[in-house]
C-alpha cells in the first residue's frame, strides 16, 4: 500500500476532490478569520469555558468506556448471528447513525425522563450528568460496533480454532486471541466514538438540558454563547476553535497510530 502511494490520482478526480475539500474547510477557515484572537486566552480560561471543557472530556470519556463495554459484545454477537435476525439487529444498532440526535434525545427522555417508563420506576436521569453520558453513548455506539464487527469478520477464525486446540476455553480465546487481533480496529472505534461523543449536541440538549457545571458540555456552551443575546459570539468562536483543536488532535492520534506502532516495534528490537 505504502509503495503504491507515489501514484497520483488522475486529474478528473482532483477537480471534484478540490471542491469537496473546499466545502469542508472553508467554513472552518471562516471561523479562524472571524475569531478575535486577542480575546481567546481570556475566554478559554473563563470559568464557563473550563467547566464546559472539563465536563465534555469527562462525559465523553465515560461514554466511550460505556461504548466499549457494551459495543464489543454487541459486535461479537452480530458476527456470530445468521439470517434475518442478524439483519434486524444490525439495523437496530445502526439506527442512531441515521436518526437525528434530537430524536434520540427525545426517545431517551421518554424512557428516563420525568414520567418516563423507567423514570416512573425511580430511574430518573433527566438533567443529570449521567444523562449527558447516556446521550453521548447512544449516538457514538454505532461507530464502535461497525469498526469492531468489521475486524471480527475479517479476523482469522482459524487462530481461534488453534487456540481452542491448545486447550484454551472460549473466554480465554476471546481474551488472549480474538481481542488482541482486533485491537487496531478497537482503537479506531474508540477514537471515532470519542470524537463523536465530544461533538454530541442534539440528544444531550434534549435529554440532559443545558445546566452549566452539570450538563453544559462545550457544544452546548457554544450554542448558549452564540444564541444568547448576541453578546457571546466571540466566546462561541473561541470555544469552537477549542473543539476543532481537540477533534484534530484525536484524529491525528487515530491516523498517527501505524507510525507510532512502527516506532515502538523498532524500539523493541
Amino acid at each position: 500500500m505504502r509503495g503504491a502511494a507515489a501514484e497520483r490520482a488522475p486529474a478528473f478526480v482532483w477537480l471534484p476532490a478540490s471542491i469537496g475539500i473546499l466545502l469542508l474547510l472553508a467554513p472552518l477557515l471562516a471561523v479562524l478569520v472571524r475569531i478575535e484572537w486577542t480575546q481567546v486566552p481570556a475566554i478559554l480560561t473563563s470559568e464557563t469555558a473550563l467547566q464546559a471543557l472539563r465536563l465534555s472530556l469527562v462525559t465523553a470519556a465515560l461514554a466511550t468506556v460505556l461504548c466499549v463495554i457494551l459495543g464489543v459484545p454487541i459486535a461479537i454477537v452480530l458476527t456470530r448471528m445468521r439470517g434475518f435476525a442478524a439483519v434486524l439487529l444490525r439495523g437496530a444498532v445502526m439506527l442512531p447513525l441515521i436518526l437525528p440526535p434530537l430524536v434520540g434525545g427525545m426517545a431517551l427522555l421518554l424512557l428516563f425522563g420525568r414520567g418516563g417508563m423507567l423514570g416512573e420506576l425511580g430511574l430518573q436521569l433527566q438533567f443529570t450528568t449521567a444523562a449527558v453520558v447516556l446521550a453521548q453513548a447512544f449516538v457514538a455506539m454505532p461507530f464502535l460496533v461497525i469498526s469492531v464487527e468489521g475486524a471480527l469478520r475479517s479476523a482469522d477464525r482459524e487462530l481461534e480454532a488453534v487456540a481452542a486446540g491448545l486447550g484454551a476455553r472460549p473466554a480465554t480465546v476471546l481474551r488472549r486471541v480474538t481481542l488482541p487481533l482486533i485491537a487496531p480496529a478497537l482503537y479506531s472505534g474508540i477514537i471515532l466514538s470519542l470524537t463523536r461523543a465530544l461533538g454530541e449536541f442534539g440528544a444531550t440538549a434534549m435529554f440532559a438540558g443545558n445546566a452549566p457545571g452539570t450538563t453544559q458540555t462545550i457544544p452546548l456552551a457554544i450554542y448558549t454563547a452564540f444564541n444568547g443575546a448576541g453578546v457571546g459570539r466571540d466566546t462561541a468562536l473561541a470555544l469552537a476553535l477549542l473543539l476543532i483543536c481537540i477533534a484534530f488532535a484525536t484524529l491525528l492520534l487515530l491516523h498517527g497510530r501505524p507510525a507510532t506502532r512502527e516506532l515502538l516495534a523498532k524500539g523493541a528490537q
Binding site: 482469522d156 482459524e158 487462530l159 480454532a161 488453534v162 487456540a163 481452542a164 486446540g165 491448545l166 486447550g167 484454551a168 476455553r169 472460549p170 480465554t172 480465546v173 488472549r176 486471541v177 488482541p180 487481533l181 485491537a183
Partner: protein, 374 residues
C-alpha cells in the same frame, strides 16, 4: 499411557468415510491416501472440528466423541487434549515465539513464570534457543513450523495429529525438522497420526501405515490396507499404496497351476515365484516398472501372441523420471515400464513404436486383498 481407539463413520453430502483403527502409545501411524479421500476429515473428527455420524473416538477410557443408538456426546475441542499440526504454522501474530509456546500451558492453568520456563525449554528442544522474543513475521517458514511444533507438544497432548506437517517447507529444511519431530514424538510417547503423501515421511517417521481409498463397490471410503511401512511399500494392495511405493498394481485370480490370470489384459497369464494362495483366490500382483525388461520386437508377427510373461505393445507415452524413461502403452492402461536413458535411445523408443515387455517372475510380488476393514 493410553491407546487411541477410532471407530467412526462420517458423511458430508455424497462423501462417506468409515474407519476403524487403534494406535498404541508411542506408535506413529501413517495415514496415506489421495486428496479428497478423507484423511483430513478423519483428523478433524479426532481434533473436534468435524462432527461424526456414528461410532466413537476414545483415548484410553476417555471418550472424546460418541454417536450411537441416539446417544450423542462430544467433548469440546479445548478439553480434548489432542495436539494438531498441519503445514500452516498459524502462530499467533500478536505473541512472541515464547508466548506462542507458553499459550497452551497457560491456558491449562500453569502459572506465567512456569509456562515461560517451559516454553524456553521447548525453544531449546526445537533448536531455537534465543529466538523466544521473535514474532512469527520475523521467523522463516521452517522456524515458524518449529515453533508451531513446540507449541503443540508443550501442551503435553494425549494424542498428536500431524497433517502433512512438512508440505509447505523447502526440501532443505524438511530433513532437519523431520528428524526433530521423530525425536520429540519419541520423548512424548503418545499415539501419533501422520497424514502424508510422501513415502519418505512414512519411512522415517511411521511405524505402521493405513492406506485410505475412495468409495468403491458400494463401500464408503476407508482403510483398504494396514501394515508396517515396509509391508505396505513392498507389497502394496491398493492403487494409492502402489503409487507411493513406485510400483504398478495388477489384480487377478490365482489359477489351478499357481499362475495369476489377468482378465482383459494383453498379458493374460503371469508366472510368479510363488503365491501361497489357493486356486480361484483373488490376488494382487505388483512390480517395479524398472524390473520390466524392454527389448525390440525381433519378429513382430511371431511374437504377436504373448507367451511366458512377455507381450508386445505400442508405446503410448514416454516420460523422463529420475531413473530414466517411463513408458506407457496403448494396449494396457495400468502397465508401465522404466528403462535407463541409454536403453531408451538404443531401442529408439518413441510414441507409436513397438516394444517387447517381459515381466520376470522374480520381479512380481503377490498378495491377497485384505479382508474388508470397513
Amino acid at each position: 499411557m493410553t491407546n487411541l481407539d477410532v471407530d467412526i463413520a462420517l458423511r458430508r453430502g455424497a462423501f462417506e468415510l468409515a474407519a476403524r483403527f487403534d494406535v498404541a502409545p508411542g506408535e506413529v501411524l501413517g495415514i496415506a491416501g489421495r486428496n479428497g479421500v478423507g484423511k483430513s476429515s478423519l483428523l478433524g473428527a479426532i481434533a473436534g472440528s468435524i462432527p461424526i455420524d456414528s461410532g466413537s473416538i476414545r483415548i484410553g477410557d476417555r471418550e472424546l466423541v460418541s454417536q450411537r443408538d441416539g446417544h450423542s456426546r462430544s467433548v469440546p475441542r479445548w478439553r480434548r487434549r489432542v495436539g494438531y499440526l498441519d503445514q500452516r504454522s498459524r502462530l499467533f501474530p500478536h505473541l512472541s515465539a515464547r508466548e506462542n509456546i507458553a499459550f497452551g500451558p497457560r491456558s491449562q492453568g500453569m502459572r506465567k513464570p512456569d509456562a515461560r520456563a517451559l516454553a524456553d525449554e521447548w525453544l531449546e528442544h526445537v533448536g531455537l534457543e534465543g529466538r523466544g522474543r521473535a514474532r512469527a513475521a520475523q521467523l522463516s517458514g521452517g522456524q515458524q513450523q518449529r515453533v508451531a511444533l513446540a507449541r503443540v507438544l508443550a501442551c503435553s497432548p494425549d494424542v498428536v495429529l500431524l497433517d502433512e506437517p512438512f508440505a509447505a517447507l523447502d526440501v532443505a529444511s524438511v530433513g532437519g525438522i523431520r528428524d526433530l519431530v521423530r525425536t520429540q514424538l519419541r520423548r512424548l510417547g503418545v499415539p501419533v497420526l501422520l497424514v502424508t503423501h510422501d513415502s519418505a515421511d512414512l519411512l522415517s517417521l511411521a511405524d505402521s501405515v493405513v492406506v485410505l481409498e475412495a468409495a468403491d463397490e458400494g463401500r464408503p471410503a476407508g482403510i483398504r490396507q494396514r501394515g508396517t511401512v515396509a509391508e505396505v511399500l513392498r507389497t502394496p494392495t491398493t492403487p494409492f499404496a502402489a503409487d507411493i511405493a513406485g510400483r504398478v498394481l495388477l489384480s487377478g485370480t490365482v489359477s489351478e497351476r499357481g499362475t495369476i490370470l489377468l482378465p482383459d489384459a494383453p498379458l493374460r497369464e503371469l508366472t510368479v515365484a510363488q503365491t501361497g494362495l489357493p486356486g480361484g483366490a483373488r490376488a494382487h500382483v505388483s512390480f517395479d516398472p524398472a524390473d520390466v525388461r524392454v527389448t525390440a520386437p525381433v519378429d513382430a508377427e511371431h511374437e504377436s501372441s504373448s507367451t511366458a510373461g512377455t507381450w508386445v505393445g505400442t508405446v503410448a507415452g514416454i516420460q523422463a523420471t529420475r531413473n530414466g524413461m517411463r513408458i506407457t502403452t496403448r494396449e494396457w492402461d495400468c502397465f508401465a515400464a522404466e528403462v535407463p536413458l541409454s536403453e531408451a535411445l538404443d531401442l529408439e523408443l518413441r510414441e507409436g513404436a513397438n516394444a517387447r515387455f517381459e515381466l520376470p517372475p522374480h520381479a512380481l510380488r503377490c498378495s491377497q486383498p485384505e479382508p474388508d476393514r470397513r
